[in-house]
Amino acid sequence: MSDMSLLPHGPLLERLLAGEFICAVSDESAFKRLQDDATREAIDSYLRPLNRRVASSQEEGVYFLAWRQLDDSARDQLARQLGDTVNSLLPLLEWLQLVQEALGRDSVLSPGDVLKPGELQAKSEDNPSLRERIERLATDSFFGSQSDQLDAQVKQVFKRLREHGYLLQPHADRQVFLVTGKVDYLLELVRFIRDEEHLPVDDEGEDTQEALL
């Protein structure tokens, strides 16, 4: 065990304990510190009595806390969480598709991408099909918008994504958002479920995208 002092990592520990995902976008300096094996070991031994340890996604784009020992209550919590995740998959994936198409982007959002709700709204205002898709998405129980106004719907969608850690709003008074590493984590989950359940979803080969749509 390392006897390095955890004193400078107080705020980081608190964020990890609160269930946050730490990535290079959400907290660059904390992320860099977590990349250091010695720091992670020190935090792990500190967290041992709390039955937690530092874990990372497969591509090490995000760090978060995992259960150290999977007792029954931990498994119950994970099962509930898995249920929530599965329910949120479609709305999240549809949102990723929507943004990609609406903003005419080459690819799915990646960590560090900048998003402005105003831009999405402007693109949708004169596009009834896009509007309709936003409305359908915003009123999905995951996003839970009650409004029939486009701007309120877009706002609600961004608010929920921020609450779930997929987006970061660096300045509370500015409507500019950054995509966090949790988006990559989400895609890793999707890939895992696909492989595990042998779903007929292909991410290789030519132009299957059009065929599926």
């Binding site: 806390l65 919590q77 549809e94 799915v108 779903l199 290789e204 995208q209």
Partner: protein, 414 residues
Amino acid sequence: MNDAETPGLESRLITTGVERLALLGRHAEALMQGYANDQVPLEGLSHTALRKLLSARIVWRPDEQGGLKLTPKVRELIAEMVSDEARRHVNADVAEALELIRSLIQSYRDSSSRGDYWQQEQQLLRLRQAVDDMNGRFADAIDSLWQRLNSDFGFVSQLNDKVRENDRAQKQVVRLLDGLALIDFDELIELVGSDGTLRKVLISQLQQQLSQHYTSLREVQHRLIELMARFRHMQARSRLVSGMAAFLREHPGFTPGNYARRSDVPALFNHAAPLTAAGAVALDRAQDIPTLSALIKAIPTPLRAAQSVTSARPAEHVEDTLIAARQQALKDDVETFYLNVVDRAEQTPISALDYLNQSELQWPPEIWLFQVIAEHQGLPHSEQRAFHLHQQEERASAYNDVKLIRDVSLGLAV
């Protein structure tokens, strides 16, 4: 020999060249339309102008009925001049250039051995140009490749097109590298022999330039492969998102296995429940007291309007079922009292306390009276008017004007 003729030929070529290059400028707009669209518009072109353009091989007619088109060389020239990466042509044919260089060296050496210095000069000039052409071909190709790389293939908008363009560029790099490999300096050294001028043009200069090209091409290749990996990654993400979304739309009831119950829970799904590190004010350390009191002083006074007593409600206490049942029984008894008053033949009011005493009810008189009054007040206005409730009051004492209700009597209002 042809000493006299050749300069004449040169000057004729130059005159024609100048004339024909000027054609490009004179018809620039029409030609650029031909570049941007499929055909060069005929409007505005006189018969003579058209004939001149055709004989300069700036434009041509692929067939008699077809329109006027730019010749490939002109199209390439324009693409090169405007760095139009979508159409820029990379010519990696080194073999032909080498063949030309070989024969020029031979001619140069022949002239040299004949002592024909003028001819030798001309051959050297053409040889220099041939070497420059070959060199320039690589330089242009590398420039074009860098342009495409630096713009992330921005001249095509779709990711799939970018992947294809990247693939094409990688093939070009391979052809260019193959071309470089064809240049055999041992052979050139042998061909050049001891001629210092040729050695300078063909060996020292060219070798240096080609080794630079080689380095650049390797770098370009490396970057193209990296970029391709990124494109493929982006493609895979897009496909994963759209494919999974389509699958979930088609299978609304889809539930994956319960990974949380597996003996080996997948690491990705093991995200521990959040814990809040809560803290509260503690007064057990003397040195904290000044800080805490400063904090308390700093708390802004809440801007709350004073609550008036009338609007304050009594705190609701939880009624247990026993109390609720007693309350209901009292209410029922009072209702029976009211019905009694209605049913009675006499219209004289009846005293509530008398009724309580006569019936065998066990309610304390005070509570009984309170409920009788409350029942009257709880009636709708129309029904209230049907009853007459008289309160027998008396002063609390000689010195106290508070009225106490001793009894109430209830009768029908007539």
